[in-house]
């Protein structure tokens, strides 16, 4: 026993080093797992507040651009509204889809685009009805999925995350694919598992797929930029340009599916 203590005393530097590195690796490997970021959760409020101070300052410099964007979106919504009100009075709801989803506006307080795993923090949380697994969109296209919520803030796994996988569909052909972020460039994503017979043109629109429990169908994702054929005749890949500009992301909407609990209970049965 005495020897052991003497050994520890002698090598305390190396032992402490190994201990700390083991802690780091453990934390790191735990955070590889999507939804178990316990450390993040507890500190989210403090971190969120500090980020909000920072972005408050930055927001003043972007006021003009933000105004323009909001005005543009207003115009678009007005246009859509006129379509709705022009039809006969009893068909206010264009289709059923609009009734399932509720949109919660939020502001981005922190955003990263140059890591291998990017996260976004927004200034709405549990008290505003945000829950994990809700989808997040910007006026231009999809943004990510809520991973963690504290009372006033929420962390979003950005599309720019090496683990992010989203089912997508090509607008013209209705064929499905899987969107991943393997390009490490914030402008581009990679759609994989594309059937070989499908001919894609540059500029083809990519939308969210129909089988997602998270994203509503037919949301804008991006446009095809470049296609790659695999030599073995397997499934093809295509590089797409995101319609959302992640570098200037400010205003986003969290989409709440009003039937989530029902869907979940159904899903739990298989």
């Amino acid at each position: 026993m005495l020897n052991l203590i003497r050994f520890i005393q002698k090598n305390h530097f190396v032992i402490l080093f190994i201990l700390l590195e083991v802690i780091c690796i453990l934390l790191l490997s735990r955070s590889q797992n999507f939804h178990k970021q316990a450390v993040m959760n507890t500190t989210n409020n403090v971190v969120g507040r500090i980020y909000e101070w920072g972005s408050d300052v930055g927001n003043y410099f972007r006021l003009k651009k933000t105004n323009e964007q909001l005005a543009e979106e207003n115009a678009l919504l007005r246009q859509q509204l006129s379509v709705v009100t022009d039809t006969t009075q009893n068909t206010y709801l264009i289709n059923e889809r609009d009734t399932i989803y509720e949109y919660i506006p939020a502001q981005v307080v922190n955003n990263s685009i140059n890591q291998a795993k990017n996260y976004i923090i927004i200034n709405k949380g549990k008290l505003d009805g945000i829950k994990p697994d809700m989808s997040v969109i910007s006026p231009d296209g999809i943004v990510g999925v809520v991973s963690n919520v504290s009372s006033h803030y929420a962390t979003i796994i950005s599309l720019l995350h090496s683990n992010s996988i989203i089912g997508v569909r090509f607008k013209t052909s209705q064929e499905l694919g899987t969107l991943k972020w393997t390009t490490n460039n914030y402008r581009y994503g990679m759609v994989e598992d594309i059937p070989t017979h499908l001919v894609l043109n540059e500029g083809d629109t990519v939308l969210t797929g129909p089988y997602s429990f998270i994203f509503p169908e037919d949301l804008m994702v991006g446009t095809v930029e470049e296609t790659y054929e695999t030599a073995s005749g397997d499934l093809n890949r295509a590089k797409i340009r995101f319609s959302t500009n992640f570098a200037t992301l400010r205003h986003v909407y969290v989409i709440k599916n009003l039937y989530t609990t029902e869907l979940d209970s159904l899903r739990a049965k298989f």
């Binding site: 305390h12 530097f13 402490l16 080093f17 700390l20 590195e21 802690i23 780091c24 690796i25 453990l26 934390l27 790191l28 490997s29 735990r30 955070s31 590889q32 970021q37 450390v39 993040m40 500190t43 971190v47 500090i50 980020y51 920072g54 922190n110 990263s112 685009i113 140059n114 890591q115 291998a116 795993k117 996260y119 962390t155 490490n184 460039n185 914030y186 570098a247």
Partner: protein
């Protein structure tokens, strides 16, 4: 002022500067400067080694909390703190630190500091980017990131040093 208080202030200022400003620098997606390393680099030279490790771990973890990557920066800075005594020996050779409390630009000179920061930054960036990709598959990309980011980090660190050490001389 007390050394400890100066170091605490340095810790807070550098971490906030890193996460609120430097993390938003976007140069082509490959350049990620990390100036918070300056905290570990400027810790007192005769500090007990275990304290050095804990300081390195602490500053890394603080940055991790902001970037949402628990363990990533902490792992890299802990290794950097572990290597610091050997790097100091390697860089200064026969030079002794008898009258010097902490690495100081005025007393040790710019060339010494550049050599020192090159070693420290390379250790840190190498660990960080490998841990980040968590595999050796993307080795080419990792090396590119290191080669592009390290010069920017070193440049920023030297800039900050020159800015602040000239203030000290006036006092």
């Amino acid at each position: 002022m007390n050394r400890t208080i100066i170091n605490i202030i340095r810790f807070v200022v550098l971490v906030l500067f890193q996460v609120l400003i430097v993390n938003h620098i976007r140069l082509g997606g490959y350049v990620h400067p990390y100036i918070y390393l300056l905290f570990v680099m400027l810790l007192p030279i005769n500090m007990p080694k275990w304290q050095l490790l804990l300081c390195g771990f602490g500053v890394g973890l603080a940055v991790d909390l902001f970037t949402g990557t628990p363990g990533l920066h902490a792992g890299a800075t802990t290794l950097m703190a572990f290597c610091r005594p050997s790097i100091l020996k390697l860089v200064s050779g026969n030079q002794k630190f008898e009258n010097i409390q902490e690495p100081d630009l005025g007393q040790l000179g710019g060339v010494w500091f550049i050599r020192y920061s090159v070693c420290m930054v390379l250790v840190h960036h190498f660990t960080l980017f490998i841990l980040e990709s968590f595999s050796f598959k993307l080795m080419g990309q990792v090396l590119l990131r290191i080669l592009l980011s390290a010069p920017v980090t070193i440049f920023l660190i030297m800039m900050i040093l020159y800015l602040f050490s000239s203030n000290k001389k006036k006092e």
